[in-house]
């Protein structure tokens, strides 16, 4: 019974062969035939999950419109039906889905915008991790900085994108005119500070340092990787690194330094 009922709920949205007729299992009511009664559940199923996806990806919806997003949602739910008790995880694979075999207008742009919105959701729900403030960092021995591992806050998400997706998301949220959809490399940090999720545009060297630290590389190796992407003198780089780390410390991006 449960398999049949579940199939009838999903079928109008996902396709597939019709199962046994509803009147074989379901009684009519005073006003509705069995199939109309089952359809109540089917409509609610898609409406609920659609609303959830649209709530998680408002900028994607704004760019493609509700009609296209409904098609995206139907195709996505067919390929990635919910298998978790939490609706918070329902849309977690949407960026990869848009990058995959899906055929929708501007799908590469939509995938990048979805990445930013997904990162916002993940950062919002991330576990609490300790924060090293600038005063704590002053106590770390110099040797530990060079050879130790710098742990970053759990809520930090680092994105390397092919569009100015962060600016697009900001414009959508602030109901401003949308910026250009043209391809352009961009790098973004998404993190939570005092229960609010923040987004910061990064340069490629900044992204490279943080990505290397996130991958567990010591600071020296992370800076060396960044230097290869830095356009300027070593002195200028040193000044920039000093500024970056001060800013990141104030934003609570560092969790700890492990010897």
């Amino acid at each position: 019974m449960e398999r049949w009922f579940q199939g009838e709920l999903a079928r109008p949205h996902e396709g597939g062969k019709p199962g046994a007729p509803a009147n074989a299992s379901i009684l009519p009511s005073r006003h509705l035939q069995p199939e109309e009664r089952v359809a109540i559940y089917s409509r609610m199923y898609f409406a609920r999950l659609y609303d959830c996806l649209a709530e998680d990806y408002p900028a994607v919806v704004k760019i493609c419109g509700h009609a296209t997003f409904r098609k995206i949602a139907r195709a996505y739910l067919k390929e990635h039906p919910s298998r978790h008790y939490s609706l918070n995880l329902l849309g977690r694979k949407l960026p990869e889905f848009l990058d995959g075999r899906a055929r929708f207008p501007r799908r590469a742009l939509l995938a990048d915008v979805a990445r930013v919105e997904r990162a916002i959701s993940e950062s919002f729900d991330a576990p609490v991790s300790p924060v090293m403030m600038p005063a704590d960092m002053a106590l770390v021995p110099p040797a530990a900085w060079q050879k130790g591992r710098i742990l970053l806050t759990e809520s930090l998400r680092l994105l390397a994108l092919d569009h100015k997706a962060n600016a697009i998301v900001s414009a959508c949220r602030q109901e401003r005119e949308l910026p250009s959809f043209a391809k352009a490399k961009s790098w973004v940090a998404v993190y939570r500070k005092e229960w609010t999720v923040w987004r910061a545009e990064l340069t490629e060297p900044m992204y490279t340092v943080l990505a290397a630290l996130r991958a567990g590389k010591p600071l020296g190796a992370a800076l060396a990787a960044a230097a290869r992407r830095f356009e300027g003198s070593p002195g200028e780089m040193q000044a920039e690194v000093h500024r970056w780390f001060g800013e990141w410390a104030r934003e609570g991006i560092f969790a700890a330094v492990e010897p």
């Binding site: 019974m1 009511s29 559940y41 959830c52 729900d125 991330a126």
Partner: protein, 317 residues
Amino acid sequence: MVGADRPARSRGTIRPDAGSSMTPRAKKLRFDIPNLGFGVGLRTVHFGHVLEKLPKVDWFEIVSENFMDTGGRPMWVLDQVAERYPIGMHGVSLSIGSVDRVDFDYLRKLGELAQRVKARFVSDHLCWCGVAGRNMHDLLPLPYTEECLAHCIERVRTVQEFLERRLVLENPSSYVEFKSSRMSEWEFLARLAEEADCGLLLDLNNVYVSSFNHGFDPFEYVAGIPAERVVYYHLAGHTNHGTHILDTHSDHAIEEVWKLYERACELSGGRSTLYEWDENIPAFGVVHGEALKAKKRLEHVAGKTVGSKGRHVARVG
């Protein structure tokens, strides 16, 4: 709102307006669970108000799953609220009637959350949420058969053993009835509660919604629920589409639902009561106002009884 579509009530049922002299002795709750009084659901839109104003609310109910996988602001808010108010946990994904295996990872997280917020009770619904690993994120209906009853009894026992606490199950709203059903929903719930030794959460709005959709007498339903196992009541509004009613939690409760609440309180003497509002959520004071209406209704029931019997049957929490 309901008009001619309202289902007929059977003649033999005691109506709340039939006079309190017909009120039977109120049933004491079988379990050692306190009456928390009149609470409301803790919803995101009210987080700021609740933390800033610390309103005089008896207790809050949370949707368990909304706090099970987050380390963000919702959990921080809940910790603050749980320090100041009693918390009841209400889940939507236990899927007690599913033929899939029990999800022990889910139960572990549910138990951890209950411990963290010192939950006074943990409730969910008589329903299933999906099969073959899928979750449809709905409270899907069950056929009321002996086979299904045995299945649910076994799973309730498993859950209670794992959580080391009594489970409280709510009657769902439903939009279909199965041909295979061999007993009423209230008989199914009564037998399940008795044989699995669990508590019940009686949602009077759900009783009304299902009575409209299926054409049964809602007062017969309330009378058929063992009052001594009812841990708490839910109240809410709904949306009437003419041909059927949807349980939308989007409005004030209608008078018929309040009458059912009064009748249930006559039978139980009053229990913890919770007002749910989940769509088009108004200002906190409006939702809390509905919970306070419940308090007045219970006082009315208690007053009627005092007038006719000379003793209180209801504790106004």
